[in-house]
């Protein structure tokens, strides 16, 4: 079980490192400022992308997996500021349980927001 959390911590770090900066730059800055056309600026193009099962899987990984990394970092940040209780079992349940809860909510939201359209896959071909 210990190995599982370390694996998820490492994978969360990798996903956040490789994927997040581009999303923040484009969807957080360039898109809202009108610097370039971005899928999520308009309902039709965003929902069209969300129909795609590969996009759905990608978004679930992008959003949920980094939280296993963040949970560990934030727990140790709290420890480093003198709250030694954050090393305890209940703190671990709280921090890592939150990352599991966010994963479940992410899967539910991404899965239910736009029905999967297998035909959307031809867009990638």
């Amino acid at each position: 079980m210990h190995m599982f959390w370390w694996f998820m911590f490492a994978q969360g770090g990798v996903i956040a490192a490789l994927l997040l900066p581009a999303h923040i730059l484009v969807q957080g800055i360039l898109g809202p400022l009108g610097g370039m056309p971005v899928a999520d600026r308009h309902y039709e193009t965003w929902v069209s992308a969300l129909h795609n099962p590969i996009v759905k899987l990608y978004l679930i990984v992008l959003i949920s997996v980094p939280f296993f990394h963040f949970a560990h970092r934030l727990r140790y940040l709290v420890v480093d500021f003198g709250v030694h209780e954050a090393k305890g079992m209940w703190a671990q349940v709280g921090f890592y349980g939150t990352s599991v809860a966010i994963t479940i909510v992410t899967i539910w939201i991404v899965w239910t927001t736009a029905p999967i359209d297998i035909g959307a896959l031809h867009l990638l071909g």
Binding site: A16, A22, H23, G28, D40, E44, T45, W46, F67, F70
Partner: protein
């Protein structure tokens, strides 16, 4: 600070709350740990935007506004710092030998950085491509 635990006493050295401002190394260590918070908030905002697409065209409100853009600039700084420090660590973590010689760390780090650039370019292209 001493804590009684059965017949033993555990001494725990207390640190002042400002310990992380003493040295630049400590400061940047805390920045690295803290980077998780703005990135987590940014991802939750993205999740909220995805959820709002379930409300139909009239109820969909893409993320925007001055406050969000300013927050994204701050989040981008923390994100780039996380990427740089995390991918640089790969050179220290990954060890293997080639013909009985230790493979140097710099090609591993550079490979990670190049992969980061390629993946970022693909994401930017995909976000544009889905808008057409």
């Amino acid at each position: 600070m001493a804590e009684e635990s059965g017949n033993t006493r555990v001494y725990r050295k207390t640190m002042p709350p400002s310990w992380w401002t003493r040295k630049a190394h400590y400061f940047w260590y805390v920045v690295r740990e803290f980077s998780a918070l703005p990135l987590a908030i940014w991802l939750l905002l993205l999740l909220g935007e995805i959820r709002s697409a379930a409300n139909g065209p009239a109820g969909y409100h893409p993320l925007g506004g001055t406050g969000f853009v300013i927050f994204s600039v701050i989040a981008l700084f923390f994100s780039l710092y996380h990427s740089y420090t995390f991918l640089s660590l790969s050179g220290a973590i990954i060890h293997f030998k080639v013909i009985d010689r230790q493979f140097p760390s710099w090609p591993i780090v550079w490979a990670q950085m190049i992969m980061w650039a390629i993946v970022s370019a693909f994401i930017i292209w995909a976000l544009w491509w889905f808008s057409t």
